[in-house]
Symmetry: C2
Subunit: 432 residues, 2 copies
């Protein structure tokens, strides 16, 4: 057990074990926007390969390719068939996999690109929003066995009949974490143009700091509450299959943010991040007869009209006979929501319907909320200090949200960020 | 047998028979370069459908897409793997099929796009120059059965293992004629930015006239001799399976050029077209010992070095003991050809090797040559009248070619065009 000997032996063992280890690296569109950026990503993959890892790359479409393709589609039809949208959009990722394979080949390493059809990335048949059902490992394993770096087209799938599907904007993250889960990867690295997940959007809160470690759960709530860092379904895959997700910069070697299982240290931080979700509307149904099944009936009708519901709050009054029922929705759904709810009001003897557009939601998120009290009060104080009126409040186990006028959103965000001292370094396991 | 009655009945019968008839329409890149052009092509397909035809569309990549993709590949690697080139380039046609399906849908007709993999367009595995081996009719028939317009991606295929292949630049023509052959189409329409095949390239010979009808054989020779109108393999498919090919403008409804089986009338026209093939070099091996197998040995070595051979001419002299052996090749292969031939000269006791770069080939083509004499003489006279020196001559059954200095090519072309009066309307079946 002599130090030097042990450390050598450990290193050796580490190398051996890494020989079996697999890493998934995902590069987003901004990290592939130019030839030089693709070469840089290729070099990074080759380095991981030379470090002894088996390497699977997942790539998005280059730069603004997807937007360009969508605009081509709009020139064809105001309402293009979803099946054909998927045939169109998947070409963006197919271009990227081919170019990446060429760049890796030029860097002196064997690589092979695989489309969803070639890989066997099976989804359901819901065009433009398909969900992964099964990943065929056979081709992947065979290519990895030969020592190749395998490059997989993100965002795309095929259904059981060979139809081309896509999984929604940003779904290359999901491709990456699903592959990492299926292959038992040591880590899924998400390379992007920011160097990690921040306590708040740095464009709105210049004092925001990078988060070193965050639990899947907090990250999921942050994504749902407006943090645009990662596709929610990708985080769900990471959580379900316990794949650590490392969100990091494609421009540097600095450590980014590790999304991982909750550690005991994380509870010490009351609030880990604050988010702003803009372009919302609040629909309030006032004097709703408080009978069994009323809410179910209302939200079934809302869902049937494909109106997206964000948060729901309900208060009871009038000796429990009446309720005020409010929900937030996207501003773009507000007009439709008003029509649906006014029809319901008539049918169901509801007092009135008020639609409040031009509002935003500010949320504070952290697992520490479970064990710490007074978080909501501290948050409301911060908003009051900013001289901003709170319109609605909703809370859940690890999230506290307030609805404010849109114009007040960024200011509320800054004051809450300040109140929880998020400008201080945000580490889940502070050294004692 | 009253006129009116008969004509009605004929029309009815025509309609019925057309119900069974199938038409393949192929749109090239220039005919799909803008949204408006795609809509125009879509309307044309819908019109054919409403006229009672079953319709299969074959589309190329939009405008200069393929060149743009090739330039992206060059940014990755000086010598990108051919497999990945195919993965890259096939995205161009995939974009087109999706957009075309959307445009047809917007025009009020059902359509479905099919990639090579979805259709089952099987080729061999020779990436970037694959050849069609088998077309699976099952999916095509099923979609046509439902009344849909089927849109197929040109240029692309898959091999037996699902690898993506391409069939060479311009091969969407081949996709179209192969499909027309497989489906027993009445006609394969090739829509392009010119209104047919001309007696000569109108950019070089302003007096050139459109050819109304041309045989597969003459068209094949014209393509081989430099006419860039159609992919040779496409014409071969037409010939082999007797599918008439109608080359016509995507901008008008005017009749274009029908490529078809030779008719008796065609022989009346001695020369149907003249072509210019530029950027050639002539390699001459002088004083070659004239022994059995010498030519075979030389051209085996030339082929082994992947030097493309255009025409070959050989003369014998010195009481049959020596030969002068010349062949034309692409100027880009000239340097390599010189190295190979000088090595051969040393090994085989050949007198000398002369490589003459900067030459062009001018050819006159027509089935009438078979039965008419004096064609070659008339052609040489025309070149002499232009005061141009002829360097080499080669003739075959329906082609007479001369090699001239590059700078003289266009002038020789014009004088030959003039000598055969090709500025007069070129019809294979002139009304008596």
């Amino acid at each position: 057990m002599v130090g030097n000997c042990l450390s050598l032996s450990d290193e050796h063992r580490g190398k051996l074990s890494r020989m079996q280890q697999l890493i998934v690296q995902k590069f987003g569109g901004t990290s592939l926007a130019t030839a030089e950026k693709i070469h840089r990503a290729a070099r990074r993959a080759v380095r991981a390969k030379r470090d002894g890892y088996r390497v699977v790359l997942v790539v998005s479409a280059m730069g603004d390719t997807t937007n360009r393709l969508i605009s081509l589609a709009r020139d064809m039809s105001a309402d293009p068939p979803k099946r054909e949208m998927d045939v169109l959009l998947t070409t963006g990722e197919q271009v990227s996999i081919a170019l990446m394979a060429m760049a890796i080949d030029a860097a002196g390493h064997q690589a092979i690109s695989l489309t969803a059809a070639q890989l066997g990335m099976f989804t359901d048949s819901a065009h433009t929003r398909a969900r992964i059902q099964r990943i065929n490992r056979e081709r992947l394993d065979r290519e990895l066995e030969t020592g190749r770096i395998v490059i997989v087209a993100g965002f795309q799938g095929i259904d059981a009949t060979g139809e081309i599907t896509t999984m929604g904007r940003g779904a290359s993250d999901t491709t990456a974490t699903a592959l990492a889960a299926a292959l038992g990867a040591e880590v899924c690295e998400i390379y992007t143009d920011v160097d990690g997940v921040y306590t708040a959007d740095p464009r709105l809160v210049p004092q925001a700091t990078k988060i070193d470690e965050i639990s899947y759960e907090v990250m999921l709530e942050m994504a749902a509450a407006g943090a645009g860092v990662m596709h929610s379904r990708a985080i769900e895959f990471g959580k379900k299959f316990d794949v650590p997700i490392h969100v990091r910069s494609s421009l540097t070697d600095a450590k980014g943010t590790m999304i991982m299982e909750e550690t005991p240290g994380m509870e010490d931080i009351v609030v880990q991040g604050v988010t702003l979700k803009e372009d919302l509307a609040v629909v309030s149904l006032n004097a709703v007869p408080n009978k069994t099944g009323v809410a179910a009936q209302i939200f079934a009708e809302v869902a049937r009209n494909q109106i997206l519901v964000d948060d729901i709050v309900q208060n009871i009054y009038g000796h429990g006979k009446l309720a005020n029922l409010g929900f937030s929705t996207n501003a773009s759904d507000a007009a439709e929501a008003r029509i649906v709810c006014e029809r319901l009001a008539e049918e169901m003897d509801i007092g009135s319907v008020v639609v409040d557009e031009g509002v935003s939601k500010v949320s504070a998120i952290g697992v520490g909320m479970r064990t710490h009290s007074g978080i909501a009060a501290k948050m409301f104080e911060a908003v009051a200090k900013a001289e901003i009126n709170i319109e609605n409040i909703s809370t859940s186990e690890i999230v506290t949200s307030v609805i404010v006028r849109s114009e007040d959103g960024p200011k509320a965000l800054r004051f809450i960020h300040d109140a929880f001292e998020l400008d201080k370094r945000n580490e889940s396991s502070p050294s004692e």
